[in-house]
């Protein structure tokens, strides 16, 4: 331990002095020309204390004394993991579902509102997962499909008075067509080029929404979009049906939950089917996939179409909830955030993506107490995440298809 300390204490000391050297001009020189030292030293001593603790931990870790502490933890987590795996999946699935169902009752309005956002982004994120995670095409404009879905519902509803349930498939369909429009010319592109084209497409959609005054009402957006209407049986004066508008946030939550669950089921099943395998083979090696009998042209287009459909459905629900759509909701930043959710969560695992969505929507809310430092903390959390878990929160696990135990790998 002392050896380890001897090795690096000089480095540590120099770093801290250097930090002091750059900290002082930043904090000690005031705009009016006066100089001060107190603030610099307070901040510096805090940093010194913090890093010193890290330094001690580092040395303990280096000299292997840490194992005494970490081994029991690792053992228990391993045991916990094993017992979780031996549990039939329906137990934790139904527990999760139960939690999701009672969530709006147990929490308040604000939390429900955040949760609806999370659920909509789960649908969006899983749509993007099909394009990026499965088929391996980098899509920087996915939010455009969300916008197309939202605007389809808003326009059909406000201008033509069509109800939500009639418009819902149309929202998916128009997003699907938009997906094919962007997919078709980009089929021969790979990697960076594709990313740029999709980025351009996202911007084109936003600019169209912003400028087509007669149809989209431009930057003012479309007001007065109706919420979801359901027919409710009424017993007064005979048995009739009555239109009932879903205006309560809690009720809306269940619609979003329903869509998210349906998306999860659909994407999981697609992913493990022959179509999912075809997508994955395209991601791994497009030429080899084509030579192994996969119609890469069709399946790449299909990936875009499927991703867009889920985004379109989520968009329609979004428009129905906000009862207002404007181009501002579908900016490039949203696309980037969506991509971050997918990458952060673990590009190739569905639970990972759900966790990524929760993290990226909930974290900024949690950090709200930090006020203007919120985004700074959020950003650094992301950087640290990617440094320590580059494959995402939950890394992809290949499904074991054989009952037999896997043989030991040979070198």
């Amino acid at each position: 331990m002392i050896q380890e300390f001897k090795k690096i204490w000089k480095q540590y000391a120099i770093t801290m002095l250097w930090l002091l050297g750059i900290l002082w001009p930043l904090l000690g020189i005031h705009p009016d020309g006066t100089l001060s030292f107190r603030q610099t030293f307070t901040v510096w001593s805090y940093i010194l204390a913090g890093t010193f603790i890290c330094f001690i931990f580092y040395i303990i870790n280096k000299s292997d004394n840490f194992k005494l502490l970490t081994e029991p933890i690792a053992n228990t987590s391993q045991k916990l993991n094993n017992s979780l795996q031996s549990m039939p999946s329906w137990i934790w699935k139904s527990a999760l579902l139960f939690g999701a169902v009672i969530y709006p009752i147990a929490t308040g309005r604000y939390a429900t509102d955040v949760a609806i956002n999370v659920l909509l982004y789960v649908s969006l994120g899983l749509g993007l997962y099909v394009v990026v995670g499965l088929a391996g095409m980098l899509d920087l404009g996915h939010i455009a499909f969300y916008g197309v879905g939202a605007y389809t519902y808003a326009i059909l509803n406000v201008k033509y008075g069509m109800g939500f349930w009639v418009c819902f498939p149309f929202a998916g369909l128009s997003a699907c067509i938009a997906g094919c429009i962007v997919g078709y010319p980009t089929l021969k592109m790979r990697g960076d080029y594709l990313a740029i084209v999709t980025l351009g497409f996202g911007e084109i959609v936003r600019i169209i929404l912003n400028n087509w005054m007669s149809l989209t009402n431009g930057p003012n957006g479309i007001l007065g979009v109706k919420s979801i209407g359901i027919l409710r049986p009424v017993m007064e004066n005979g048995f009739t049906f009555e239109m009932f508008w879903v205006t309560k946030l809690e009720l809306f939550y269940y619609f979003a939950l329903g869509l998210a669950i349906l998306t999860i089921i659909a994407v999981t099943r697609l992913g493990s089917s022959r179509i999912g395998r075809a997508w994955e083979s395209i991601r791994e090696d497009e030429t080899a996939a084509e030579l192994m009998g996969v119609n890469t042209f069709y399946y790449k287009l299909l990936a875009y179409a499927m991703g867009a459909i889920f985004a379109g459905f989520a968009g329609a629900l979004f428009a129905a909830r906000m009862r207002f759509v404007s181009p501002e909701s579908f900016t490039f930043l949203e696309s980037v955030m969506l991509l971050c959710m997918v990458v952060l969560g673990g590009m190739n695992s569905i639970p990972g993506i759900i966790l990524g969505v929760i993290a990226l929507i909930a974290l900024p809310e949690v950090f709200r107490g930090l006020e203007s430092y919120r985004m700074l903390v959020f950003g650094s959390t992301m950087v640290i995440m990617m440094l320590f878990r580059p494959s995402g929160l939950i890394a992809a696990k290949r499904k074991k298809m054989m009952e037999t135990k896997q043989p030991e790998e040979r070198g």
Partner: protein, 255 residues
Amino acid sequence: MAHLELKNITVRFGGLYALSELSFSINTGEVLGLIGPNGAGKTTIFNVLTGVYKATEGDVLFEGESILGRKPHEIFAKGVARTFQNIRLFSKMTALENTMVARHCRSNIGVVGSILRTKAQIEEETFIKQKALDALEFMGVVKFADTVASNLPYGYQRRLEIARALASEPKVLLLDEPAAGMNPSESAELMKDIEKISKSGIDVLLVEHDMKVVMGVCSRIVCVDHGIKIAEGTPQEIQKNPQVIEAYLGQPANQ
């Protein structure tokens, strides 16, 4: 009858002739060797046969039907499967999944069926898995079924490639240097496997630099150099052919 036939194939890249006026055929029930020095155009022939390149002139016939200009995946579905000179497995997928991809063209459940997980879809998946396992078993890779392809030992990666091609139940199998990087005992194993494949009723076109393998398993050999066929015949004939010797070793010094 010729199973797969090249007729006067010319492939030109700009002014460069990769293949010129090349004709040969793979007959039913044979293992045809294709040899030639580096850059002779062997892999180009593979790419023409599988539809990666379109021949500038000439025609490719499969069971009497022209497959020139068809998409690679269509040709694969017709029954011409290949392996690659540099291993091109789907490296993050398991061995079983790799093999299952090759069954793609032999199955047809679409998006709706997959999402609803219909009875037909479940049955088809079981069938795909069974066929894929059969192919893995055939090549002796079944013990690695759940291993991610990139974690497989090198020799098994080569075998997995062949298993993947076989899973589609092809009529003709094109092997592009399957023995590359193998040690003598591994290539002896490979020779047995090629014979086994041939016996199961699949015609084989073998490109290989390891002459021991080529001479050991091929019933007929075609030798190409600079995109031109310079010799064709049994292994014994090829070994004695002066043009082949010249292509590999150069002209005798006393001439």
